[in-house]
């Protein structure tokens, strides 16, 4: 009984339900409860999603917002030439940024603050008032750059204004500006920096940007929405890492000579599409200079090119930029291809010689060569060169000889194998962007080969040809052309060094030597004679090719590619002039003299010893009569003297060449002297004559005597080569400048002229 009672009571205790006083609402209440708890559960899931799945993303965003930073730009590395001459340098400047949030929030409590900031900034900086107001209302970014690359003095002014007016939300930080001390010099090689042009201009600035640019620093602050720094976080300053310096292989002095010479040549010959000159060191394939014209000023790259007529020039529109790319920004040595013409005969010759299919003395015929319905004639209109040796054929640039050699002896497979070996099928791999590729016949036939043999109907880049000539010059090693020597950090530590990189040996050393001696004849006594430089054995090949344009005049490209000195090559120079309009187009007449001048100047500058040959001496023996020039205008006198091979010095020059009359000349008219002599011209009545002391010449060689006398301003008359044994005027005598000293020489030691 009691047991049952107990059980009932316990059961009642645990299963107790109060009397249902709310019939019908009990389940409704529980349903409501379940619905609400379900919604709560869904929200919990939503939080899980936000915090766990999207957590990192929001954390990042929050971090960016809370830890606002302003960048401090790194100093861009310096670009120098091989001797350390600065070509591009960064100058300290300021960047002015604003924090729109801070300004807007300050404006809320302090109406008119926005306008005050905009007004103040626009009065100091060259930025429109409205533009600044717009930046202040920008909602999505924490920092807005108002002006970058501003002068330090302007930056200081802004800082002073911030201090004086207690401005919040405006910051002045370090920045840098690029400056090119030499303006136009090597403009195509250096290129410009800038967001829109990056990589397109192809200069060192863009190609080596990863080394030059450095890592920008940051000023990080944890801030609240008003831009106030938070209590527990300090301002962190991450210093910028400055960019590395780039040392180029070019020599600024040589580059300057080359650019001047190129511009002169283009003016002289009216080359309508400009031209390019490449100067390389054959041993290492380093580029010593590379000029292209038209050029531009690196400090003002968007200026209107002279050739363009456009009153609405702005420089930054798409069209204007395209124009700039097509004209002044174009590095013709790299980006443009051209038909090399006869300069390519050196390559054909190299193949023939290397394959032992021909020698310098092999007999060849210049008779017209007929092939597949085409006939290839020699360039000489009044009869070909007939039977000659191969050396003479190169000298005379006889097309049929090369076609025959290529088609009949070398053959297509072998020829194109060498084309590939010389690197004409590939880009040279120079460390500059934008290099163009070449165009050769894809499935060459015999006639294709016949014209390719003398460089027609193919397109190559100037740098490819210069590189191939380097291989001819250095004993047969094709090397990647180098434009940069090394990359160094600010402590001078070398980060990256560009060593010579031999791609392959194309021809043997002996072929190289033979070919150089053949090419030397081209300059000594052939189509390239205008490139002749006394004392430096210049070798090379001229080229004249037609372009596909239909211009009535000047549809030619004239070129000369030379190597000097022949016995120990120091330089390869390629001169290409596009569309010359003055005089008949000829590589020999127009490009060769440019190359000659450059070999003379550059080799002298490089202090390469002149070693005169018999030929040099013989050339010096040529004599002429000094014409009578007294009474003529200086201009006419200069022309007349020039025709005879004389040069002149205007002793008391002032005034205009066209009107000034020559009053006296030394030597006197009709003096029979060496034709490289210098005539001294006076233009005043009873001029005060310059005098010099005659040196002792006995014991010197002809060339030594010549050098010494011409340095003093004296002239020489000699009939022989050898060693000076007597002189007409005793040493120590004072004579007028320009006087002639007759020397007698004895040719007793022939080895001296080896």
């Amino acid at each position: 009984m009691e047991k049952k009672e107990l059980k009932r009571k316990i059961k009642e205790t645990f299963t107790y339900k109060s009397e249902d006083v709310h019939p019908g609402t009990r389940w409704k209440t529980y349903l409501l409860c379940i619905i609400l708890l379900t919604v709560l559960c869904a929200l919990l899931v939503r939080f899980a999603y936000l915090q766990i799945i999207k957590g990192e993303e929001y954390q990042e965003k929050a971090y960016q917002q809370q830890n606002s930073w302003r960048t401090i730009s790194a100093d861009r590395g310096t670009i120098t030439d091989r001797n350390g001459n600065v070509l591009a340098v960064s100058i300290a400047a300021n960047i002015v940024t604003i924090d729109p949030y801070v300004i807007r929030n300050t404006d809320k409590n302090n109406p008119g603050y926005k306008e005050k900031v905009a007004g103040g900034l626009s009065s100091i900086l060259d930025v429109e008032y409205d533009e600044i107001l717009e930046m202040i209302s920008a909602k999505k970014s924490r920092y807005k750059v108002v002006a970058e690359k501003v002068d330090i003095s302007v930056g200081d002014e802004v800082e002073k204004w911030i201090k004086d007016k207690k401005i919040k939300g405006v910051y002045v930080d370090e920045d840098s500006v690029r400056y090119y001390p030499n303006g136009r010099l090597a403009s195509h090689l250096i290129g410009i920096t800038g967001k829109d042009d990056q990589g397109l201009l192809g200069g060192i600035e863009s190609t080596f940007d990863k080394y030059l640019s450095g890592t920008p620093g940051r000023i990080i602050t944890a801030v609240d929405v008003y831009g106030n720094e938070l209590p527990y976080d300090e301002v962190t300053r991450l210093d910028p890492v400055n960019g590395y310096d780039v040392v180029m292989t070019i020599d600024a002095t040589i580059q300057k000579m080359v650019e001047e010479e190129l511009k002169n040549a283009i003016d002289t010959y009216g080359a309508q599409r400009g031209g390019t000159i490449v100067v390389m060191k054959p041993e290492t394939a380093e580029i010593l200079a590379m000029a292209s014209y038209p050029d531009y000023d690196l400090n003002d790259p968007y200026a209107k090119p002279d050739s363009i007529q456009d009153d609405n020039w702005n420089g930054h529109t798409t069209q204007d930029v395209q124009t700039l790319y097509a004209t002044v920004w174009r590095n013709k040595a790299l980006v443009d291809t051209y038909e090399p013409g006869s300069t390519f005969k050196s390559i054909t010759s190299a193949i023939g010689l290397e394959e032992n299919l021909i020698t310098a003395t092999s007999p060849v015929s210049d008779a017209p060569y007929s092939l597949a319905g085409w006939t290839i004639h020699c360039w000489r209109k009044n009869g070909d060169h007939g039977n000659e040796t191969f050396e003479e054929a190169v000298k005379n640039s006889c097309n049929p000889v090369f076609s025959k050699l290529a088609v009949e002896k070398i053959g297509i497979p072998c020829y194109y194998r060498y084309i590939k070996a010389f690197g004409f099928n590939d880009k040279t791999g120079i460390e500059l962007e934008g290099e163009a590729g070449s165009i050769f016949h894809s499935n060459p036939t015999d006639i294709d080969l016949a014209v390719t043999a003398f460089g027609q109907r193919i397109q190559i880049t100037p740098i490819q040809l210069a590189t191939a000539y380097c291989a001819i010059a250095n004993g047969g090693y094709l090397r990647t052309p180098l434009i940069v020597k090394e990359v160094v950090n600010s402590d001078g530590l070398v980060i990256k060094k560009y060593n010579e990189n031999t791609v392959r040996q194309v021809i043997s050393g002996s072929t190289s030597k033979t070919l150089l001696s053949i090419l030397e004849q081209v300059v000594a006594d052939g189509t390239g004679s205008n490139a002749y430089v006394a004392g430096y054995r210049v070798t090379g090949k001229t080229g004249t090719s037609e372009t596909l344009t239909t211009d009535t005049d000047g549809r030619y490209i004239v070129s000369f590619c030379g190597i000097a000195p022949a016995d120990n090559p120091e330089l390869v120079i390629l001169v290409v002039l596009d569309h010359p309009t003055v005089g008949s187009a000829s590589g020999g007449r127009q490009a060769a003299p440019v190359a000659g001048n450059l070999f003379d100047k550059i080799l002298t500058y490089m202090e390469v010893e002149r070693r005169y040959t018999d030929l040099d001496d013989e050339n010096m023996m040529v004599k002429s009569y000094v014409p009578k020039i007294v009474g003529m205008t200086v201009k006419d006198a200069a022309d007349l003297l020039g025709k005879k091979g004389f040069s002149f010095t205007l002793a008391d020059a002032d005034g205009d060449y066209d009107t000034t009359i020559v009053t006296e000349q030394i030597p006197a008219p009709n003096t029979y002297i060496n034709s490289n002599s210098k005539v001294i011209i006076y233009t005043k009545e009873n001029p005060v004559k310059f005098t010099v002391t005659v040196p002792k010449l006995i014991g010197m060689t002809l060339q030594e005597a010549n050098d010494l006398l011409s340095e003093l301003g004296l002239n020489m008359k000699a009939d022989n080569i050898g060693v000076v044994i007597s002189q007409s005027i005793e040493p120590g005598t004072k004579v007028e400048k320009g006087s002639v000293i007759t020397i007698t020489l004895e040719n007793n030691d022939t080895e001296a002229f080896g």
Binding site: T13, S18, T25, T29, L37, L43, Q51, Q59, Q65
Partner: protein, 404 residues
Amino acid sequence: MDDSQEKIKKKSIQIAEKFRQTIRSEQMDFWLLLSIILLVGMGTMMVFSASSAAAYRLSTSSSAYTILTKQILFAVGGTIIMLIIANWGDYKLLSRFSIPLYVVSIILLILVLLIGSVYNNAKRWLNIGVEFQPSEVFKIALIFFLAYVFSRPGLAFKAQRLMGLVIYFVPAVLGLLLIAAQPHMSCVVICLFVLGVMMIMGKVRMPTYIALIILAGLFVLGLILITKYFPNVFDSDKFSLTYIVDRIKLFFDKESSGEVDNYQIEQSLYAIGSGGLFGRGFGQGVQKYMYLPEPYNDFIFSILAEELGFVGVTIVICLFALFIFRGYKIAVNAPDRLGSLLATGITSLIAIQVIMNLAVVSKSMPVTGISLPLFSYGGTSLVILMAAMGVLLNISKQSHYNKF
């Protein structure tokens, strides 16, 4: 042997009886009380953390402890009031003041429109000695009013039928319109929800709902017609309709994240998101430094999420879930209709506010100013809420069910 067995039996009966008495005894609901105290405690803690940032901003105000001191004062005061009402009060007695209370709350709502102070383009605060929001009073008054109407014999019979539209619906709508005029739309939504729940639990008959649907249809039609023929009527940006439409537009406008209101919610998401699983640590939040508006009020839960992480979020949501469950348990176990309705109303009021607040801060619904009950900083509103909690506990004390 028998003696000892007898003793054991007697002892067992005594224990069972005691246990029975305990669970049926006049005690408050243990879990409800626990959740309330924990929530208020955690809320006060978070208010301290959030307010330290605000104090940092308001460099003029004396110290970081100003807001904390106030909050502690009101939390302790509120708890005392809650316990007094729970222990010594009687909800049946209190309900006799339902109608006067409701009338007073309506008067307060009118007063706030006349002499209330304006914050953020809305008149919500009334200062008569103490500064408070009459809408907070109204919410409780509405629950008492409806519970009274639906529980009083005779009156309930009429109220459940179409007559009810006059008995409770018109007075309720009057209050809602007054709140809408402030404007305080979130409060209107909350009151509508509570009204709906109370009507269902008050066993309102079908004709009333049908009548209401027709009325609502006519109302919408009227609005459309007015907008069509008098397009300038709603131009005032104070008018609630355009205000609501703007809010909803903003919610779906993902692009304008820089705009002021979406800015708030974006900041809230940054806070919640950067909390991760375990949070930055108590007091280590960054978003409270003025990125979040009213960090100790509407967005306090974001601060909690940032500082205590998903773990903290789960704990608080569980506490609220516990509260809601126990609240409805009290409702179904209440000794009479009045108690049941009161408990349902109060629990629903808390539940809907919690859900809306969490939905807003987690960008699950359009932005609307709504605080997290029991948790957010709030002087008088906390006291009023705690008084309501006292009523809830008092109901549980008077009912017989398992309070553990």
